[in-house]
C-alpha cells in the first residue's frame, strides 16, 4: 500500500520547506538574478579565441568552455525554476538581468521580458546599461521620472571581476536614486519630484 501512495506523497516529501513558503501573494519578490554566466563577457568565453585561453592547449580551453557551458545551464535552470515557482504559487515576482547585445537569455528563455529599461542613467543611475525586467503575476506601472544628474560611466571602464568571465561588484552597483525612481515609476506608480506627468492619464 505504501508503494501505491508513495508517488503521490513524493513531491511533498522531497520538496520540503523553503523560503517561498513564508512569502504570500500580498508580497513582492525582487530578484536580481546572477548574470555571471549570461552576460556578453561570458558568451565571449565560450570560444577558443577568448584571450584568457591564449596560453592553453586546445583541450584545456575546451575543458574550460565545457565547464562554463555546464554552469550556464545550471544557472539558466535555476532562473527558469524560480519563475515557475512564482508563477504556479501566484507569487508576485520581478526578475532583473542585464540586456546587453549578446546576453544569453535574449534568444533562450521560458518567457520574454516584460520590458527593457534601455537607459538607466535617465533615472539616476551611473550606467546606461540596458536592463530587462520580467514581471510575474503582476503588472508594471508607467511612470517617468527623469533624473539625469550624474556623469555616465562605461561598464568596460570599470574594474574587472576577480576571475575571468565574472562581473565585478563595481559593474553590478545600482544607484539608490535609480532604485527609488524605478520603484516609483514601474512598481508603485507613485508620483514624486521629477515625475513627468502624462496628458493622457
Amino acid at each position: 500500500m505504501l508503494l501505491t501512495f508513495l508517488p503521490r506523497l513524493k513531491p511533498h516529501i522531497w520538496g520540503g520547506q523553503s523560503v517561498f513558503d513564508s512569502i504570500s501573494c500580498e508580497d513582492l519578490i525582487m530578484a536580481f538574478f546572477p548574470c555571471v554566466y549570461f552576460s556578453c563577457l561570458s558568451q565571449m568565453s565560450i570560444s577558443w579565441e577568448y584571450h584568457n585561453y591564449v596560453n592553453m592547449t586546445t583541450k584545456e580551453a575546451t575543458d574550460m568552455i565545457l565547464e562554463r557551458s555546464k554552469n550556464r545551464e545550471y544557472f539558466f535552470g535555476l532562473a527558469a525554476k524560480m519563475l515557475c515557482v512564482a508563477k504556479e504559487r501566484g507569487l508576485r515576482l520581478i526578475m532583473e538581468n542585464p540586456w546587453s547585445m549578446q546576453h544569453f537569455l535574449k534568444s533562450n528563455f521560458v518567457v520574454a521580458p516584460t520590458f527593457i529599461d534601455k537607459d538607466r542613467s535617465l533615472r539616476g543611475d551611473i550606467y546606461k546599461k540596458p536592463t530587462a525586467y520580467w514581471f510575474i503575476n503582476c503588472n508594471r506601472t508607467n511612470g517617468l521620472t527623469i533624473q539625469k544628474d550624474k556623469s555616465v560611466k562605461r561598464i568596460v571602464d570599470q574594474a574587472h571581476g576577480a576571475h575571468a568571465g565574472l562581473c565585478s561588484e563595481e559593474r553590478s552597483m545600482i544607484e539608490p536614486d535609480y532604485a527609488r525612481n524605478f520603484i516609483c515609476d514601474f512598481i508603485l506608480g507613485k508620483e514624486q519630484i521629477g515625475t513627468q506627468l502624462s496628458m493622457f492619464e
Binding site: 504570500s24 530578484a31 536580481f32 504559487r89 552597483m173
Partner: protein, 61 residues
C-alpha cells in the same frame, strides 16, 4: 501595484532596493548567500531554496 505585505529582495545588490522600499514606507528584507556589508537580513542559499520549492512541498500562505 499595491504591496500590502513585504518586499523580498533576492541576491546580490538587492540591498539598495531594499533600503529604498523601506524609505518609501514598504517593509522589505534581503536574502543572499553572502553578507559582505553586514546588512543582509537573511544569509541563505537561495539556489537551494529554489530547488526545494521547485521540487514541491508546502505552498504559499
Amino acid at each position: 501595484m499595491e504591496i500590502n505585505g513585504k518586499v523580498h529582495c533576492f541576491f546580490e545588490q538587492s540591498g539598495t532596493f531594499k533600503n529604498e522600499f523601506i524609505k518609501l514606507g514598504i517593509p522589505a528584507e534581503d536574502y543572499d548567500i553572502q553578507n559582505n556589508f553586514g546588512q543582509t537580513d537573511h544569509v541563505i542559499d537561495l539556489f537551494a531554496e529554489i530547488e526545494t520549492a521547485y521540487m514541491g512541498g508546502a505552498k504559499c500562505l
